[in-house]
């Protein structure tokens, strides 16, 4: 599998569905070598999804206290993801843990980018809050730019110093 876009999160928990929404927005609109998928979470499942990808982009919701809709982009090859991606307890193993597990096991894709969209409401139910909808659309555009049709492993990094978009 050359390239993977993986939305992570649970659409039944409102803004936690941001990642899946990005995947849904991009499904069917990218070249054939790009796989678009969504997983609910779980480090083992994320790790399994990353297998064999030369280039992978993960999209997840964050809960860090930043204003809702804040988008951050991280190059996982450069170093560990910030704490806002990680769960406070080792019971919950999500994106940050999956990335670090892949790194520890030597299974990190050569190119791995993670987008975080700050959520506002993680309660029960479907539907993203307005700020997250807007952020989701921006991220979908950015992800599509990252995936280069001609050369799957080359992409432009366009982000601010703090990872902001």
């Amino acid at each position: 599998m050359a390239a993977l876009i993986l939305g992570v999160g649970n659409p039944l928990r409102r803004d936690d569905g941001a990642g899946a929404a990005v995947a849904g927005r991009l499904a069917g609109r990218l070249p054939g070598h790009v796989t678009v998928a969504a997983v609910p979470g779980g480090a083992a499942e994320i790790l399994a999804a990353l297998q064999g990808a030369a280039q992978a982009i993960l999209v997840d919701a964050t809960s860090s206290g930043a204003p809702p809709g804040t988008v951050r982009r991280f190059d996982a090859a450069a170093g560990p993801l910030p704490a806002s991606f990680a769960r406070a307890s080792s019971h919950g193993l999500g994106v940050a843990e999956a990335v670090e597990l892949a790194r520890a096991l030597g299974q990190l894709p050569p190119h791995l980018v993670v987008y975080g969209i700050e959520g506002e409401d993680f309660g029960m139910g479907e539907g993203l809050t307005p700020a997250v909808v807007a952020a989701m659309e921006r991220v979908a555009e950015a992800v599509a730019r990252d995936i280069d049709a001609a050369n799957p492993v080359h992409y432009d990094v366009v982000h601010g110093e703090d990872g902001g978009l």
Binding site: N10, A20, T35, A37, G41, A88, H91, L101, E141
Partner: protein, 436 residues
Amino acid sequence: MNALPKKTRTLEVDCLARVEGEGGLYVKVRGDRVEDVKLRIFEPPRFFEAFLRGRRFTEAPDLTARICGICPVAYQMSACHAIEEACGVTVGGPLRELRRLLYCGEWIESHALHIYLLHAPDFLGYESGIHMAADHAEEVQRGLELKKIGNEIMTLLGGRSIHPINVRVGGFYRLPAQRELKNLIDRLEHGLALSLDTVRWVARFPFPDFEQACETVALRSSGETEEYPLNEGRLVSSHGLDLAVADYESRFREEHVAHSNALVSTLDGRPYLVGPVARYNLNADRLSPLAREMAEAAGLGPVCRNPFQSIVVRAVELVFAFEEALRILRAYEEPDRPAVDVEPRAGTGTGCTEAPRGILYHRYRLDAEGLIQEARIVPPTSQNQKQIEADLRSFVAAHLDLPDDRLTWQCEQAIRNYDPCISCATHFLKLEMDRS
């Protein structure tokens, strides 16, 4: 963005209840005495009991599966059995065996994840599975492979590994092809070998000297079938309980406690323990010979009283699950139909099955059209809550000299002995120490 004509390959896995909720631990110490320990657990089942009302009986397995992302099959099995009892239907024969096989898949993926990524790091002195992976890549890979094999069983029988879609009241929507099932045998034999390695690995861990006397509760099959419990049996305990599942609520009570949104369970007013240790203590004679042999070689006596050794019991259950899965596959004969007909009728039904973490009880009352009038769901982790609190009380009392942050971490480790379900229980552990 330009729309490009070529079609992308799209894979979608549906959602599960993600890690959520807050857990809290409140400890009150006066001088050198532990006055109070309260464990707070987030309770999704309460929400589900409410919105099941008015839904069709056929929806119970799919809706309740959303309560837990790690053990959806447990919810589906308990729901199916309860609805089928209400409607006067028994699912036997090959369909019954396929249900056991599906459950084995769930035990495998749940136990493997817990043993390798959540629990083993505590014994080897690592902060997390990730930290451990760098030094023990081979073992972690083994754990991930075990989990993957468990997921393969669930995908084959359940349609997908997360929230299986192939389970229905009466059986399944579609039967897997004989060829597909037989192909699984190689994978399971490989998994069995890995599970034996797992027992050998965890048996050598340093276990703190800590014994807890408590009442253990599990299913135990009665009558002709002498099997290690999964979907059926009577409720038994280390203190002489022998109860039909239908009478669960006559002895097991849920009490509302002021400090938590959770309801806590008691048996005749006492705390009790469910899960692998309870199952082992009450059903070790029903394990496969190989699993029994491994248990003995690993130093497990006829009963396990050290909660830290639960990791060994889970490893033994991994061996059992592979053996049972292989037994079922080798003997499997395809039934005529994927499901038994179930016609709705007014009435009440109960179901209790052994989730990876212990007994999971469901009760439904249906009207004549099969609409759910009332639902009651009691997950294993909430049943263990009082016992976990009791253990923590002893634990905190013995470690009062530790600074708060260190004590918090040790409490989390102690809680991990119970493999609390991340969707049903403690997520963030906030320790409040009230020292006066």
